[in-house]
């Protein structure tokens, strides 16, 4: 089986896949045991599967593993832990910006990317940055509050 080499959360990984088109999401979840990124649609429509590729948010459900070769991937696990959350995670926790939390991975990863680009977003910019991320539980107002809180941290 062909081999693909890239970095995940700072660590070099080498994975096999029978299909060069296999989305990164399945590799992360099943081969590498990183479950933070979630399968929501597999269609690039919801954002639940968002990870950072070289710091940019991508939909891992539609990103073929082949495309990731030689690049650096960051997942939610790479940001912080329950004991030591990073500032975006800490802001989401402080705002209790989750209900079921299935969308939370995508929200935090999209926020992380936003704050790299725009350290002090306006609420409008925050809404725009998250416009491709869906939340079915209706946690939007808290998620926006968390983005603003993270920017101030």
């Amino acid at each position: 089986m062909p081999k693909y080499e890239f970095r995940v959360n700072g660590r070099a990984v080498s994975v096999n896949s029978w299909d060069p088109g296999q989305p990164l999401l399945y590799i992360l979840r099943n081969t590498l045991g990183l479950h933070a990124a979630k399968f929501g649609c597999g269609l690039g429509q919801c954002g639940a599967c968002t990870v950072l590729l070289e710091g940019k948010p991508v939909r891992s459900c539609v990103t073929p593993v082949q495309q990731v070769t030689g690049h650096a991937v960051t997942t939610l696990e790479g940001l912080g832990t329950p004991e030591k959350p990073d500032r975006v995670q800490a802001a989401f926790i402080a705002e209790q910006a989750a209900q079921c939390g299935y969308c939370t991975n995508g929200m935090i990863m999209a926020t992380t990317a936003l704050l790299h680009q725009t350290p002090h977003p306006t609420p409008g910019e925050a809404k725009h940055a998250l416009s491709g991320n869906l939340c079915r539980c209706g946690t939007h107002t808290r998620i926006l509050a968390a983005v603003i809180r993270a920017a101030k941290a």
């Binding site: 896949s17 029978w18 299909d19 296999q22 989305p23 399945y26 979840r29 099943n30 990183l34 479950h35 933070a36 990124a37 979630k38 399968f39 929501g40 649609c41 597999g42 269609l43 429509q45 919801c46 639940a48 997942t75 939610l76 696990e77 940001l79 832990t81 329950p82 004991e83 959350p85 995670q89 989401f92 926790i93 402080a94 209790q96 910006a97 989750a98 209900q99 079921c100 939390g101 299935y102 969308c103 939370t104 991975n105 925050a126 809404k127 725009h128 998250l130 416009s131 991320n133 869906l134 939340c135 079915r136 539980c137 209706g138 946690t139 939007h140 107002t141 808290r142 998620i143 926006l144």
Partner: protein
């Protein structure tokens, strides 16, 4: 805010591992809480005890270190039940909330005091546990009395210690009963703590599951794996009632290690690699019979209105003769309201893992009812219930009955065939296409007003699907030709069809329909969103007809101070100006701005909720922007105000989504709105600021608050659109196209 107890989300699993219980497979020993195992082999009679909901020990286990574990069949589906139940228990037991852990929805470990639904988590679930804790409290004081040689009424239980109230040496709960059973029946009369002395209930404590959810450490059912597990996908037919004719396995020859499972018209694939299973399911060529048994969604309102009626029922009545009173009323109003079929549309498609063996089975699920799922799977697949263990894990929000039970049946059947554990997660089109739906509803209302605008006649006729006893059929069993019940149910969908105001000659009649086009189930606040949409829209029509301000009109018909309170608060917060609706339309185009109001009492017996909102509508396009929402909410005793706010905000945002966007589309054969493009939901750019005022009633019982705030949302939105435009929308969704059409005519 108080400090959170962290990472509890995964604690049950830790607990099972450290407790020496067997996670995979089934054994009687695994049904025993840790503290019992520590006591050595229990007698046979003990084995049954931990699951008997009459026993204190079934709900609570006291450890030697002073910590307490709650066992409950009520589950936290992102609603904050874990922290709320922990707070109520800690309060009653006089212990710190972070020494409480919780085991939910594991049929081998928890007593069955009902599934999770109808906002019952707090008022029934947590109240049951609180009563067990109150019973334990008395017993602990009694034990303390014996140890300390003081009468129990001179002792207090606080800070995990029993002490003389006057001060002096005490003894810890852990020492008194840690590691032992109380062997006590829950005493329904055990006195509860005086709410005036509460130190934990009422505090906005942080939820224990959130840190794990924000760091990728929460184990969702979608994340659960077991050794030797296969990934499965089920291929659903292109038409709902189609039968499988043939398959061509050569079509998936290039995909590694795939096995096809076919049982009559049940068609699945399994593979060690999930992507292989996904690809195989997509590419497997199958031929199906044709089927066109659906009416199509284009003229659904008409279809529902003409559907065969099973029976009529007067579901609410305040006596009198609505018909006669209507015909002699000074003003007569008539309107028809309609609500479409909607999906739970869970963000994560339903998922389950099943491990079916010769001697028993284990199923991991995010279902809101582990016991209900166990009973159904056992019955359908012919396995004794006690050999089947169903374990709840967190899942994507389900808002009632989404695909969770069906996917469990898919996994069960595939595992049984393969003799290996199988994980099935539905694809997006499976969830949107095949989750059981919130059924369509049609309501006709007739109202008569006297010259002063008082309601002298009110007649609601509603067309809704009848409840047929028995489980909702599982897709897998029907496809595989396994006989099963074909029950039908969508929750208490006939409630809130009458006005919550002073009115004479009131009658609400439900025309219970034999069928509804797509398999129905409970969808958050079943029926009540549509019913309140109709009732509160109609009340708004009455106010407009009389030229009276919408809030004033409502207050005139109310005497309950709790109702008056929420109405005044919601109106104040939005800065309500007293005037009749609609606003005079400006002579020239541009933006039309308006405000709307709605009030209801949930199930006419529980929470009081009022919502007000401000909207702006583009005249050119008909696009609705919600600018602000205010909500006042009274659910009795508040357990955790922050958790409560989260639920209310979510209820409002989700219902804005349902009112603005959502309608399941189907043709003669299948659901055609099968992803987020064809079934759009609310996006960030559309979410308004939501201001919530909580009214606490510490001496009253708590009502559940997971759904009540949904009920007035669509009505206040429609009323705001009317205020802005003069157009009364009586069917959902309020899409730009629909409003544009209405604005033109």
């Amino acid at each position: 805010m108080a400090k959170a107890s962290q990472g509890r989300c995964v604690s049950r699993r830790d607990f099972l591992l450290t407790g020496g219980a067997v996670v995979v497979g089934f054994s009687l020993r695994s049904s025993l809480p840790k503290f019992v195992l520590a006591q050595g082999a229990p007698s046979t009679s003990d084995l049954r005890n931990p699951l008997d909901p009459r026993q204190v020990d079934s709900f609570l286990a006291f450890r030697a270190d002073g910590s307490v574990t709650i066992y409950t069949s009520k589950v936290d589906v992102g609603t904050g039940l874990r922290i709320a139940m922990s707070q109520m228990t800690a309060e009653e037991l006089g212990i710190a909330v972070d020494s409480v852990s919780i085991v939910e929805g594991d049929t081998a470990l928890v007593p069955d005091h009902g599934g999770t639904g109808g906002s019952s988590g707090i008022p029934r679930g947590a109240v049951d546990v609180r009563q067990a804790a109150a019973t334990a409290r008395q017993a602990i004081l009694g034990l303390g009395a014996a140890q300390l040689k003081r009468p129990a009424n001179e002792l207090t239980l606080a800070g995990s210690m029993v002490r003389p109230s006057a001060g002096g040496v005490g003894i810890s709960i852990g020492k008194l009963i840690g590691g032992r059973r109380l062997n006590l029946q829950v005493d329904g009369k055990a006195p509860l703590k005086d709410p005036a002395t509460y130190t934990i209930v009422g505090k906005p404590l942080l939820r224990p599951d959130v840190p794990a959810k924000c760091t990728g450490k929460c184990e969702y059912v979608q994340d659960h794996t077991v050794p030797n597990m296969l990934h499965g996908r089920v291929i659903r037919p292109p038409a709902i009632g189609a039968k499988l004719v043939s398959i061509d396995e050569s079509s998936i020859r290039g995909i590694p290690d795939v096995r096809v499972v076919r049982i009559e018209s049940f068609l699945g694939v399994v593979a060690p690699d999930e992507w292989a299973a996904v690809c195989a399911a997509r590419e497997l060529k199958a031929t199906w019979t044709e089927w066109e048994g659906l009416p199509g969604s284009d003229d659904l309102e008409h279809y529902v209105r003409e559907s065969a009626v099973d029976h009529d029922e007067t579901v609410a009545s305040k006596g009198g003769d609505p018909k006669a009173a209507f015909s002699s009323a000074a003003k007569q109003l008539f309107a028809t309201y309609a609500w479409p079929c909607q999906s739970h549309a869970s963000l994560g498609p339903s998922c389950a893992v099943a491990d079916v063996r010769e001697d028993g089975a284990t199923v991991w699920t995010a279902s809101q009812g582990s016991y209900g799922q166990r009973a159904q799977l056992a019955k359908v697949f012919g396995m004794p219930e006690e050999k089947l263990r169903v374990i709840f894990l967190d899942g994507s929000g389900s808002y009632g009955g989404n695909g969770n039970d069906d996917v469990a049946a898919d996994a069960f059947l595939l595992s049984r065939e393969m003799k290996r554990p199988v994980r099935v997660q539905w694809m997006r089109e499976d969830e949107h296409g095949w989750d059981p739906k919130g059924p369509p509803q049609v309501l006709e209302l007739r109202g008569g007003l006297d010259a002063q605008g008082r309601i002298v006649a009110w007649d609601t006729q509603m067309w809704i699907p009848v409840t047929v006893p028995g489980n909702r059929p599982l897709l897998a069993a029907d496809a595989a030709g396994i006989p099963q019940a074909h029950g039908q149910g969508s929750g208490a969908i006939s409630q809130n069809g009458d006005p919550p105001y002073a009115a004479e000659n009131v009658r609400v009649v439900a025309h219970w329909l034999k069928q509804t086009p797509l398999r129905p189930s409970n969808l958050r606040a079943p029926g009540k969103i549509a019913n309140v949409f109709a009732v509160e829209g109609f009340v708004d029509e009455m106010a407009a007809e009389m030229g009276v301000d919408a809030v004033e009109h409502r207050l005139r018909g109310l005497s309950d101070p709790r109702a008056i309170d929420v109405i005044n608060r919601a109106a104040q917060m939005i800065g309500w100006q007293t005037r009749p609706s609609p606003m005079p339309r400006p002579a020239q185009g541009g933006l039309l701005v308006g405000r709307g109001f709605a009030y209801m009492r949930y199930k006419q017996a529980e929470n009081y909720v009022a919502t007000a909102m401000e909207v702006a509508i583009e005249l050119e396009t008909g696009k609705v922007a919600v600018r602000r929402v205010t909500c006042a909410h009274d659910c009795g005793l508040i357990i955790n105000p922050d958790g409560l706010r989260n639920q209310i905000e979510g209820s409002i945002a989700q219902t804005l989504s349902r009112a603005l966007h959502e309608e399941v589309k189907f043709d003669r054969s299948r659901v055609t709105s099968v992803n987020w493009a064809s079934y759009p939901i609310l996006t960030f750019s559309e979410v308004p600021p939501i201001e919530v005022a909580l009214i606490d009633r510490p001496t009253l019982p708590p009502f559940g608050a997971g759904e009540a705030a949904t009920a007035p949302v669509a009505a206040s939105l429609a009323n705001a659109i009317f205020d802005a435009t003069g157009v009364r929308l009586r069917s959902v969704p309020f899409t730009a196209a629909r409003l544009k059409g209405a604005l033109k005519s």
